[in-house]
């Protein structure tokens, strides 16, 4: 069993199992090449259309909530890249509810690999690479257009923003899945925070009410995905007037969120009773 290995060994075992399952699904996906290409392009177009809507808005206006097009594009690109990465790597955990319902989770319990790894890697959908690629393209364009005095520190800030953003979204996916141990049919709720969070973070915080921005900072810390680091990058004040060092807390918030998500997942799995029992 995994517990008898050392901690590092069990992590290595988990990652190996994840990669093996993912490789298997990638091979199977590429069997239907035409279908895969359509789906990947569709995935990119799905998030691309949201950017087209932003472009259409900016054909009528010069600034939204005091932010110009390159700045909104930066917010859009950062948030959609983070969500896209999280969705690609472990978005499939959202199907946990249906696994509990139809009993297929039980099969995973007896296999010699961590259940979380199996649930996250099962039916790995390579087509979901479309969204992060498209978002990265927009982000790249935005970064060349915004007025930023580039230093090594600011480059690190951008990379840290994307990685911790992906980790925060990943933690929310996992929390949502853990919640489905309790409420199996409530898979939709987490969409409010993942896709809904992304829909919110694409726009400047000045567009939303103060209460909403507060909630997105202190309750569900989505603001750390892109708002706070991007505002720092653009040299703008954040609407809540938080101290400056808070802008750099993204990786810490991401680590805390992942820890919390891991605990919630364990609690959910431990309390799981099969439909058969």
């Amino acid at each position: 069993m995994a517990e008898s290995f050392g901690r590092a060994a069990s992590v290595r075992h988990g990652v190996r199992a994840y990669l093996l399952i993912v490789a298997m699904w990638v091979r199977s996906t590429l069997t239907y090449r035409a279908s895969f290409v359509i789906m990947a392009v569709g995935n990119a177009a799905g998030s691309g259309l949201e950017f087209v809507a932003i472009l259409l808005m900016f054909s009528h206006i010069d600034a939204l909530g005091g932010f110009g097009l390159p700045e909104v594009a930066l917010l859009y690109g950062a948030s959609a890249t983070a969500l896209g990465l999280a969705d690609l790597l472990l978005g499939n955990v959202e199907r946990l509810g249906s696994r509990v319902r139809d009993g297929t989770l039980d099969v995973l319990l007896v296999r010699p690999a961590p259940v979380y790894v199996q649930v996250a890697a099962d039916r790995f959908a390579l087509r979901r690479i479309g969204r992060p690629l498209q978002a990265l393209a927009v982000l790249g364009w935005a970064l060349t257009r915004v007025q930023v005095d580039w230093t090594p520190g600011r480059v690190v800030l951008v990379v840290a923003m994307l990685l911790s953003g992906a980790a925060i979204f990943g933690a929310i996916f996992t929390l949502g899945a853990a919640f489905q141990f309790v409420a199996q049919d409530a898979a939709q709720v987490q969409n409010s925070f993942t896709y809904g969070g992304n829909a919110m973070l694409q726009y400047p915080p000045t567009v939303f009410s103060r209460e909403l921005v507060r909630g997105a900072t202190f309750v569900i810390p989505l603001a750390f995905v892109n708002w706070l680091p991007a505002l720092r990058l653009l040299g703008r004040d954040d609407p809540l007037g938080l101290p400056g060092w808070v802008d750099f807390l993204g990786p810490v918030v991401a680590a805390v969120m992942c820890g919390g998500a891991a605990l919630a997942w364990r609690a959910g799995l431990r309390g799981y009773r099969s439909t058969g029992s």
């Binding site: 239907y32 035409a34 279908s35 359509i38 789906m39 569709g42 995935n43 177009a45 799905g46 259309l49 949201e50 087209v52 809507a53 259409l56 808005m57 054909s59 009528h60 206006i61 600034a63 939204l64 909530g65 409420a183 199996q184 049919d185 409530a186 898979a187 939709q188 709720v189 969409n191 409010s192 809904g196 829909a199 919110m200 726009y203 000045t206 567009v207 939303f208 009410s209 909403l212």
Partner: protein
């Protein structure tokens, strides 16, 4: 499934009773999932709020964009959220996924043997589903939207009646489009790629991302003539009173026209597909 409800066909009265029973079955089937319905209401309300804030900012910069004042623009948002699950064109969750699966597995051959019309059967089931979604997932987000924002909801019962008729036609157009998508599985075996493209087209061309009246110039005019505008743009405009007098009938006729054309296309494609099934099975 509820195939066992199939009664002997033949007389028109029997047929009506059959499809009414199928529609009731569709309604009751979706009414079973209460947690999912509550989760959906929650999600629609959250999305409604987020989009409403961005529209508020947009209409603050450009009042009367697309001929809507701010309250009308916000109403447009909430009508969209209320109809999202009902029309089911943008997201999954309708009959077409099930039908796709039956085509892929070959179970559709059994369906074709049944003494009921395939298209009418699924249409009846989908109308029943839509009826439940309108009550279960449409009303509450709309109420939440009206409580949280200033909306421009009409007082005239005539407009509300016309709106309901427009929603029924929206569901029918949506059904006809999804039926075509599902039928494409006869040739492609895996029609999920087509389903994705269809969902994207619906998201963009129905007005759900941005009202079609905001789309610029000729592009906007063309987009408003496409079938997808029936799914969100037209019902919202009906409710907002954008069609004065006989224009209201014109708007409903526009939807009914697309419904008729697309349903007919579905029948033609089904006939072609059926011949193919016979070849495959023989």
């Amino acid at each position: 499934m509820f195939w066992h409800r199939t009664a002997g066909g033949g007389a028109v009265g029997g047929a009506v009773a059959l499809y009414a029973a199928v529609a009731r079955g569709g309604f009751r089937r979706y009414a079973t999932y209460r947690t999912a319905t509550a989760a959906g209401v929650f999600t629609n309300t959250v999305f409604g709020c987020l989009i409403a804030y961005t529209f508020q900012a947009l209409w603050h910069e450009r009042p009367h964009l697309g001929g809507y004042d701010q309250a009308q623009a916000l109403t447009f948002v909430w009508v969209g959220q209320a109809l999202l699950a009902t029309v089911a064109l943008t997201m999954g969750g309708g009959f077409h996924e099930e039908m796709q699966e039956r085509i892929r597995s070959g179970d559709i051959a059994v369906d074709l043997y049944r003494p009921a019309d395939l298209q009418l059967w699924w249409l009846a089931a989908d109308l029943g589903r839509a009826g439940f979604q309108l009550l279960g997932r449409g009303v509450l987000p709309m109420v939440a939207g009206a409580l949280l924002f200033d909306l421009a909801l009409p007082a005239s019962p005539l407009l509300w009646a016309a709106f309901l008729a427009s929603v029924a036609l929206a569901v029918t157009v949506s059904f006809a489009l999804r039926y075509l998508v599902a039928l494409s599985g006869f040739w492609l075996l895996d029609s999920s790629g087509v389903a994705v493209l269809s969902g994207l087209a619906a998201m963009f061309f129905s007005g759900t991302l941005l009202p079609l009246r905001v789309f610029p110039g000729t592009f906007g005019e063309v987009v408003r003539m496409l079938p997808w505008s029936s799914a969100h743009q037209v019902p919202a405009d009906v409710l907002l009173g954008r069609y004065p007098g006989l224009g209201l009938l014109g708007a409903l006729a526009f939807q009914a026209g697309w419904a008729a054309v697309l349903l007919a296309a579905g029948r033609l494609l089904q006939a072609a597909a059926t011949r193919k099934v016979v070849v495959q099975g023989g």
